[in-house]
Subunit: 254 residues, 6 copies
């Protein structure tokens, strides 16, 4: 499996030469209710990155394990860094890779709270023609399947996330707690009043920390989600590999 960190420097030169695309897993370490592990989001990102990096065309970078999670800090065990710090850590990691010649990166992201920062990083890296680094969120790649499998609005530690991590890391999941997660959880993300979101923290609208219908989860459904999302990521990598780098850069002024 082409994983950058396992290689010596000279071997990495060859691997970078052969690779068309790098994958950078980003996640978080934050509460996912009483049934799922805190590392849920970075475990998912890492698993997808490793699955993508099974042939020489895709090179996996180290996993960035702590993300932007200030909205979970009332729940024990949650870690967070600021959006600025997270963005800088991701941006500089990609910038340094780019100096060795690999300028196409898929940020394989497992945490919604990271998205704003990742979008800004991707914009900056493209504007300076340093790297083209779009974000790929696994849940965006399986929207239809998730709609088929679950009857939930979801959003956090829901049936989809529960299924996925149950498939990936059964040893860290407590199925008995899924019921409590749902019972004390919320049906949908946020707290909306006359068009405004007035709930900024998870605890504003869910006591268990979960949002959705985790009791609908199963490892088998998790496997389905994983396979479908991994297929999409693979297709994205192929698409990006074939796209000329000059087509990736920012378009000129109209």
């Amino acid at each position: 499996m082409p994983t950058l960190a396992t290689k010596s420097s000279p071997d990495s030169a060859e691997a970078i030469e052969r690779a068309e695309v790098a994958v950078l897993p980003t996640g978080s370490t934050e509460q996912h209710g009483p049934a799922l592990p805190l590392g849920m989001d970075h475990y998912a990102a890492r698993a997808f990155a490793q699955e993508a990096a099974t042939d020489d065309a895709v090179l996996a970078l180290p996993t960035i394990p702590v993300g932007v999670s200030p909205h979970h800090m009332q729940f024990d065990g949650s870690l967070t860094v600021s959006p600025e710090t997270f963005a800088a850590y991701v941006r500089e990691t990609i910038e340094s890779l780019a100096t060795h010649g690999l300028r196409k990166v898929i940020v394989v992201n497992g945490h919604g709270g990271n998205i704003d920062a990742l979008s800004q990083v991707a914009r900056e890296l493209r504007a300076s023609e340093t790297a083209y680094a779009p974000t790929w969120n696994w849940w965006d790649a399986v929207e239809d399947l998730a709609d088929d499998l679950f009857d939930e609005a979801g959003g956090h530690a829901d049936a989809a996330e529960s299924s996925l991590v149950w498939h990936l890391h059964e040893e860290y999941v407590d199925p008995d707690a899924l019921e409590a997660a749902e019972a004390d959880g919320a049906d949908a993300w946020g707290e909306r009043v006359h068009g405004a979101n007035v709930g900024f923290d998870t605890i504003d609208f869910t006591e268990s920390g979960a949002v959705g219908k985790p009791t609908q989860a199963s490892p088998e459904k998790g496997e389905q989600l994983f396979d479908e999302a991994a297929t999409a990521l693979s297709a994205l990598a192929d698409w990006l590999a074939e796209r000329p780098i000059d087509d990736c850069w920012q378009r000129a002024h109209k």
Copy 2:
């Protein structure tokens, strides 16, 4: 109309004393296709703020006219500031108001690109118990009505926006250009490939700068949108006025 800037300092002391909530209009100056004015988003925000500030309970702050619009910069006339600068400008404006005793603010926002920065500002102001300042985006308050009025996915310079500004500022709208806006525009925001958003700039997916079905616009529909959204904003102001400030602050650690 209680507008802060029109009052003398002693009069503002009374106005702040009487007011329960301030409204801070934020928008942008950026391309809205060939038919709508660049100021669309700050005109909308200003109009809603003024409408809300018709009795003593709501005090209108000055309009912040330039927002976070890097994704429109290939189109002529677009102005932008960075997310950090925009966030700081909004945050410090609210912080200074709070020193005079008014700690509930609705940020009346007219521009989607401002949302990430405004969310972060709202979080920080609440975490420090300086102010409670949720964002209100006018389009979020009229989702159902917009679905009734228009058949579009929309997103920018669409039928909803076109209608609203046609109602507010007929003099700045060129109805003859709506057709070109739509013909050379996009049906939906962004460019999605296997779950990833790979189009970062408006120009990546729309030649006219518009996204949606602006030909469905009319000033009458704009009036309907304005009235419904203004009613929602008024209700939000009432809700916030009644909410004890201590219930607004961040909840304690679980």
Copy 3:
């Protein structure tokens, strides 16, 4: 009137093409004693910018309404942002305009507290050959006339400012309060001890917030001031329009 925000993007392309100079109004929202509105400084800046932008050669940008006013914060209603934030907001606004090809900007400033930040912005923009953006303060253009009209050292909410805003916005001025403004005000700005300025805030030396002789104000004198200053601004715009951009840039090392 060529005002950027009122134009569509394609129309702005033409307006920018035709324009030689942009004007960017900057002011503040801060105490101006018991008789004048908090918005005094940005009202003045906006009025001068609009007056200047009456032909195609001058294009007006949106008004930046909150400035650097920490020294007024003990007085109700005053808003402020830090010098760094104000400078960034102005600089990035001008930078984004420059990307469309208009590189000569007059910052039409209504607030003394903004000057340090504006000087630094002008220096940076010139050093990078992004834009040439000198500051124009209206009071500097009418020194002789003000000396003729008033017998004051002045400096804030004085006879000159009172007259100007009385002319521009009679509806926001309370002439009955001018006497109290003067009676409880100061004769001159600051508090000087053996060559050092030891008064940093307005409240250190004026109880009313005014400095000068506001009772000498009249709307007629305001009109005289406005006309003379507007004439000077127009002449400045002409001068700048004719100056080759290469003569505007920073001179080379000796």
Copy 4:
């Protein structure tokens, strides 16, 4: 093994309650010559942290895989973040842990280039009484043993590092390349001229990227180093567990 990320939020509450000390592994992804993997430093840090976290008193945090490595960037595969970014990422991770009540952290560090930044973080966290977080570098704990085992000045990808990673990750080590590492390497770190260090980058003084005598390495020696260093880390954790937190804080002004 008490590893934070594997636990659910409620379980982490108990684990944090039981734990006396957290261990945070920090390393780098950077060239270690032709024989050793790029991930050497974060693999080492992670291994020591996991070994330390075998009873409930020590809780392992996620591994931070990219560190401060600008001096290795001429060698393929090296990644780096700036000292400021690395410091912020570590500091905020520890700060967020501290909000849950665990304020003693050992930063288990595998990379010399991180030390300056970690010292500054430790100082700041102590000064604000947020956390007490001294750095532990594994090589500092085995100086005498390394002197016994190897005849080298060393410093990077040397016999000590080679042995350790050979013991931990035989699969990533290429023993055949150790000879070249040494032959084209340097005897000692840096390039000193009349008391000044005039070589800032590794490539200034080593062609292979190694500094020391890697041919003296063996997995058995690596095991000895690992065991001795792990024992020291365990003793450090015991020492810190017993130290009252008030004795950890900064002393008062003399």
Copy 5:
């Protein structure tokens, strides 16, 4: 002479205890035309600080020799730091002194370009009740005398500055060059067009680097200036010594 740096730590404790006020000399190293030394401004500041610190009530801090001089950089030998860096260096120096109990500081400043940054520092230190640190510029203390002695508008390397440094450091002054300084210099600072300052750098308006009438200088006049300014500084120190610290802090909200 009570100079902090010359004392041991225990002796400094006593000196700080006895002192009422500290003086911090700040200047620049920048062109002062063909006749005067680059160090003019920090030499002046240092001389005044030393003169003030002749009894135990005033303690002299080290001289900060490089200031904010971007506008002189086209002239050889000029050094500069940014306003932010200069401000931080001064602020943190004063903050650290304040931790030992001395909270009244006169910043004895020799360079006009430092004033904006020093004002901001003074404001911040007062707002946080860390220290009260007004700026004292020597030329502000001798305005009348300078008017008597010289017939110049002046501003830089003028008759006043030339006289002062001639008195202080005859060995660094080249009297023969004063004529050229004046001949190729400017009569007044800046380049004003219709009320706007359009000359940002010294070289925009003076070829020699001097502004004023340096040929009117003499060491005798320099001595007069020095004595009068030193007397004023001494009086300022007395005034500040007697002022209760609570009267120095920022006044409360009105």
Copy 6:
């Protein structure tokens, strides 16, 4: 003696033309126990810089007197700036010198706490090919001699420092206090527990502030140290003068 600040701008042009290398003295103002002056480190740096600048090939810059000393702040009289501020002040000073054509600088440093920041500055200046500015610490140039002269591990206000400043500034040294310095001091720097440095501040391990054997000091030994270090600095300047600037820049990617 070629000292930049003493020269006029035109004369400095010639001096810069003739000079091959500049020397920038950096130190601190911080406790050095009961016998030595707070200015010890910047006095030493200044003395070495002046000694080096005795012929035209070496040009002395102003002395930067306050450094990075947070670890001494419990001792009276210590001043400090943050590493970021110190780094910026040094970097910008060197950058501005480089604009006049002198790109080789030796930072003559007297304070260990400055080293991390100076290394980072040197790296940045080299990476951008602005200047090549290695740090020279006087104690690194006399290691063997110090070992011959003294029987100490040392580190701060030790026999070596005491001797040096006794030689340079007898008037600021209190020989009678050397005994107390040693008696209440520490034998070695820091407090090490199982491989970790757990003492961050000087006061954590020394009551007097001294570390080493100051009673072994004498002015004669100080003279020996000074002469030997000065000879080394002179040789370093010669070496740097002869080194082509292109050999100073960062090497290309391997």
